[in-house]
């Protein structure tokens, strides 16, 4: 059946852990945009949700760091963080091992992806699920791009990873939703936490919405570090979603800086219907 929904959103732990400290004038419309994402996701009636995330050393370390990984289990657990700190109860999350296996097999035709039959979710997946599937009942397939331990995979390869996931989804009969999560510019977990380059964020999302492959993949890591902080390396997850939706255009529903969340709150979707109509024509 292929993709029935594709979007991106921020995943900062502050979105749940420090929600009350955000300016309500910005927080409430942001949460409304996330609610709209949830409704749109449900309307697409997915059998499973692939979450392309940038984990923060929940499963992978520098002793054996995969550039790309996909979960292949029927059950996951999260959050890895102190549940009281993140304000998300620790729980089991359903997976879809059989579908994962087929996706991994297909992705391997073009990308040397690691598979993992154990996976602990951190805030990078748990926070988005908290908003998108608050009952945690939709089978999830986690995917990860290393955005923490350099050397990092080139952005052009992240786009290709997305294309490979799309090819795998196209070959599966299931209805599959795709969500990319990460920050755009941010300097998280530093004394500067809360610093956000708003113009850089808006320009990145403009490129993402246009699905401008060349413009999305031309940032060097040095430029990203300088202009968007080490958190900016997470654009790989968002770029992968663009790759999965090559030929589609996106729409940004919300993007405003929320310093106590350490990043801009953002939500955006790709218009898969327009792409399908173009293919049919």
């Amino acid at each position: 059946m292929s993709l029935v929904f594709a979007g991106i959103m921020s995943h900062g732990p502050g979105m749940t852990a420090r929600a009350e400290r955000a300016d309500p004038a910005v927080r409430e419309p942001f949460y409304a945009a996330l609610e709209r994402l949830r409704e749109e996701l449900e309307r697409s009636k997915p059998d499973a949700l692939i979450v392309i995330a940038a984990e923060h050393f929940a499963n992978f370390f520098m002793n054996n760091m995969p550039a790309y990984a996909i979960g292949m289990a029927d059950e996951y657990e999260g959050p890895i963080e102190d549940p009281e700190w993140l304000r998300i109860e620790r729980r089991s999350i359903p997976g879809a091992a059989d579908l994962s296996r087929r996706i991994v097999g297909k992705v391997m035709e073009t990308v040397d992806v690691t598979y993992a039959e154990e996976w602990k979710f951190d805030h990078g997946i748990m926070v988005p699920l908290n908003f998108l599937t608050p009952r945690f009942d939709l089978p999830v397939i986690p995917a990860n791009i290393n955005c923490q331990g350099p050397p990092l995979t080139p952005l052009s390869r992240a786009y290709e990873f997305g294309r490979a996931i799309r090819a795998a989804c196209d070959a599966a009969p299931e209805r599959i939703a795709l969500m990319g999560t990460g920050g755009i510019s941010h300097w998280p977990a530093t004394p500067n936490s809360g610093k956000i380059n708003v113009e850089w964020d808006r320009e990145f999302l403009r490129r993402w919405s246009a699905n401008d492959r060349a413009a999305l993949t031309c940032y060097s890591d040095a430029e990203t570090l300088r202009d968007a902080g080490q958190g900016g390396f997470e654009i790989r997850t968002l770029t992968a979603v663009a790759g999965a939706c090559e030929g589609s255009m996106g729409e940004v529903w919300f993007c405003e800086p929320i310093p106590i969340f350490a990043t801009s709150g953002f939500a955006a979707v790709m218009d898969l219907n327009a792409e399908a109509e173009a293919r049919a024509a």
Partner: protein, 106 residues
Amino acid sequence: MTLYRLQKLLYELNRDRQVQEAFLTDLEHLLCEYQLSEEEAEAIRSDDVGKLYILGVNGQILMHFAAWRGYAWDAYIQAMKDALAEHGQVRGGIYAAVEGGEGGAV
């Protein structure tokens, strides 16, 4: 190499309840296993999140550790600011402070 081992200890501590138990019951033995420098070991012993930041521990690993050790958010950010003022710039990794550590949502 010791920064690698320091981060590995914190990585495993963050995700493994058995390592957490070892931390709480026999910390010296655990520190010995990871062959940390005395400066690193002392930062762990004293829950000195600010010093661990300066030593170059990846910020995401450190954020999880700080939460587990009971640091409130503002105290955690302030600890990094204070350590930056006391010890100077971060010595390794990709989480160096910018603009003297100014700003931040505290």
